[in-house]
């Protein structure tokens, strides 16, 4: 199905300048606290939605940006589109820095970078006809003002996205169209300015199963037709396989693995990529099946885990992966939830003191015993838990566990953040592949 049957050449970037070059990009959202905080203008915290991303988008390729919901894919796309301000780092488009560009200057670039959002229904102004909506970009940029010409150009682009005969759609309102037809109109609106880069943010995920393949096929055809480059954002590794030349796997604001699609599917390196691939239900990838991802959920991007952001869920995590206080709390609470109803849960809870001290992320823990209990009892309890499941990766992270005065002293190995480094055809951000940490 991919337009070129030939495998895209991996990492052949030296001679040709990439269309987009992103370096150490950071986009944070500030979350405002309560009224008192707002009164003094204090920020209650930041969500690191994009947290140090570097990648290139090459001319003519389809780069897939894949990750679970909340991993920052949309934010990355919106930063590229200039819809949110980057906090740090750089984005170069055709060799020109575009972060921090004032809207006035950005406007001319918008003819070259266009977007298709997830929800076709919400992406169209309900008060505009299809002709008005699709033709508006031409008016905005002063390309075409003559009504007849405008209409003719809209009709032309509508037919090219498969809304034919265009006359049947021109004077319709979005609410008169089906989801798939609306998404076609949205694509037409994005293409009428002849952009070079199209950011497609989950363009089919809100469509009917049966329409999805058609829209994707249309996008493949249009890529040739309009000589487009795509940034294709999706949470669905299965459709990415059919569509993308290269794939970047994103997790909690970072790229954890990036490389040619073949390499990623044939030999996934990062434990997160491996988990995502395992979660694709075979043999029918279009069927919706609950995903069998590793334990737990995507952590809160407002206070990401120390070290490797994936370590709390990683089955292969080891010493340097960033073990910390909150992992102990998760371990205990997960255990008690699993054993709920058994009498020993209450006994165990009576031994351990207030778990709230564990909420502050730190690689050393000073955990008090419960009132009237000795820290030695807590140590014994933790050792018993370790003995029950010694394979649990958490214990690899523990460097020291002993009673010390009135507390339990629990020290973890120092967290190290993995960096994206080339491994074979791909680049991976995981300590398993960096010799310094694993050696």
């Amino acid at each position: 199905m991919r337009p070129e049957a030939v495998a895209p050449q991996p990492e052949q970037h030296a001679d040709e300048e990439p269309l987009v070059s992103i370096r150490n990009l950071e986009t944070y959202y500030s979350i405002r606290g309560n009224f008192a905080d707002r009164l003094v203008g204090r920020e209650a915290g930041v969500v690191r939605a994009v947290d140090g991303v570097s990648l290139d988008i090459r001319r003519g390729e389809v780069l897939g940006l894949v990750g679970e919901s909340g991993s920052g894919k949309t934010t990355l796309g919106r930063t590229l589109l200039g819809l949110v301000q980057a906090t740090g780092g750089s984005v170069e488009f055709e060799g020109r820095e575009i972060t921090g560009l004032p809207e006035r200057k950005f406007r001319e670039l918008r003819r070259r970078i266009q977007v298709v959002f997830q929800d076709p229904h919400a992406s169209l102004n309900p008060a505009m006809t299809i002709a008005q909506a699709v033709g508006h970009p031409l008016q905005i940029h002063g390309v075409e003002h003559d009504r007849t010409q405008l209409r003719a150009r809209v009709a032309d682009v509508l037919e090219r996205v498969g809304l034919a005969p265009a006359e049947a759609y021109l004077d319709k309102y979005p609410s008169d169209l089906s989801g798939g037809q609306k998404q076609r109109a949205v694509i037409a609106r994005a293409l009428i300015l002849n952009p070079v880069l199209l950011v497609a943010d989950e363009p089919v995920s809100m469509l009917d199963m049966s329409v999805r393949a058609k829209i994707l096929e249309l996008m493949v055809a249009l890529k040739q037709d309009f000589e487009l480059t795509y940034l294709y954002i999706t949470h669905d590794l299965a459709t990415a396989r059919f569509f993308c030349d290269r794939i970047a796997i994103m997790y909690l604001g970072r790229i954890v693995e990036i490389g040619p699609a073949e390499a990623i599917y044939a030999d996934p390196k990062h434990p997160y990529t491996q988990a995502l691939l395992r979660a694709i239900p075979e043999p029918d990838p279009t069927r919706a099946v609950p995903r069998d991802l590793p334990r737990g959920e995507v952590p809160d991007a407002a206070s990401p885990p120390l070290g490797c952001p994936f370590h709390p869920r990683c089955p292969r995590a080891f010493e340097p992966c960033g073990w910390e206080s909150r992992d102990l709390r998760d371990l205990l609470e997960f255990r008690w939830a699993r054993l709920a109803g058994e009498p020993r849960v209450e006994e165990e809870q009576a031994v351990v003191g207030d778990l709230d001290v564990l909420d502050k992320p730190a690689p050393e823990v000073r955990l008090p015993a419960a009132r009237g209990r000795k820290p030695e009892e807590v140590v014994a309890l933790l050792e018993r838990i370790r003995a029950e499941d010694p394979q649990e990766p958490f214990w690899k992270g523990v460097a020291r566990l002993e009673a010390s005065g009135s507390h339990v002293a629990l020290d973890f190995h120092l967290p190290q953040e993995p960096r994206l480094e080339p491994v074979g055809d791909v680049s991976v951000s995981c300590h398993l592949y960096d010799s310094a940490a694993s050696g």
């Binding site: 406007r107 918008r110 102004n125 006809t129 008005q132 508006h136 009504r147 004077d171 089906s178 037809q181």
Partner: protein, 333 residues
Amino acid sequence: MASTSAPAPITPHGRAKLIALGRATKPIREASGMARFMFWTGVGITLFFVALAIFAPLLSRYNFTQYASGGHRFPQLGHPSSAHWMGTTVQSSDVMSRVVYGAQTELEVVAIALAMSLSVGVPLGLISGYFGGILDRALVLLMDALFAFPYLLIAIVIAFVLATSSIGGGILTAAIAITAAYVPLYFRVVRNHVISVREEPYVDAARALGARPRTVIRKYVFFNVVQNVPPIATLNAADAILLLASLGFLGYGIQPSQGAEWGYDVSRAVSDAASGIWWTGLFPGLAIVLLVTGLTLLGEGLNETLNPVLRQRRFGRFEFDEREPREEALLDQ
């Protein structure tokens, strides 16, 4: 080129306008049950008063300031009779003329006040809501402070200040007083709606297309926000009638020489009622009640037919369900 392209664009454009009009009035045409009844009753009553106002000189035998005709002074506090269908007042003026001309005053004041408060409140709300920031915070603070005041109080203060100025106690003063009382309301309604519309993907899409803020507000935000305004404006009109009548009743409204005003007439009739003279108060009072009822029915009818949330509740399901079968039908082709 110009000669050939001139007539052609009219057709598609005019057609689009017609379609837009058809779409905008569709919920009203399709309204049913209670909403339909309320809407059309409201329309009937309101049109009746509009007709009174327009044809006042034809419908009423005397002017509202007239107390004599053909050299004969009208009777004081005369019973309703063939010469004075609704009787006369203590100043010998004809109650019916005052009621009929009163429709003119009320509707004029309310129309001017609505136009002014809309043309101040709506743009302020649009700008404040869309751009946010310091301007927004300052405006919200100011408007909330105004909103917290009883609006009758605001209107009285404004009316009082203006009446003592060169403008005097006429229609414009009353309209400005009412405007000041309603601007915060429109501001709030529009601003809050803009805040939610601003987050809609189609607004983001417009920005991504390169539309300037002015274009985004005019073409993408405005149309989706103003849909809320007609029901509110109509309900407000009903409210404004009461406000104007209250001002008149308290003596801060239209001065009797400037126009006939029902609230003022009712206030003058209060003392009559004690001595069994019912006609001086009853007819202007009835007029107030009837017009307010008409406008309220119209507003509620509009609200119920235009407001999608209410509409969905009435059908007991969401629009989403309606779309599904159609989508399947299209796929079958």
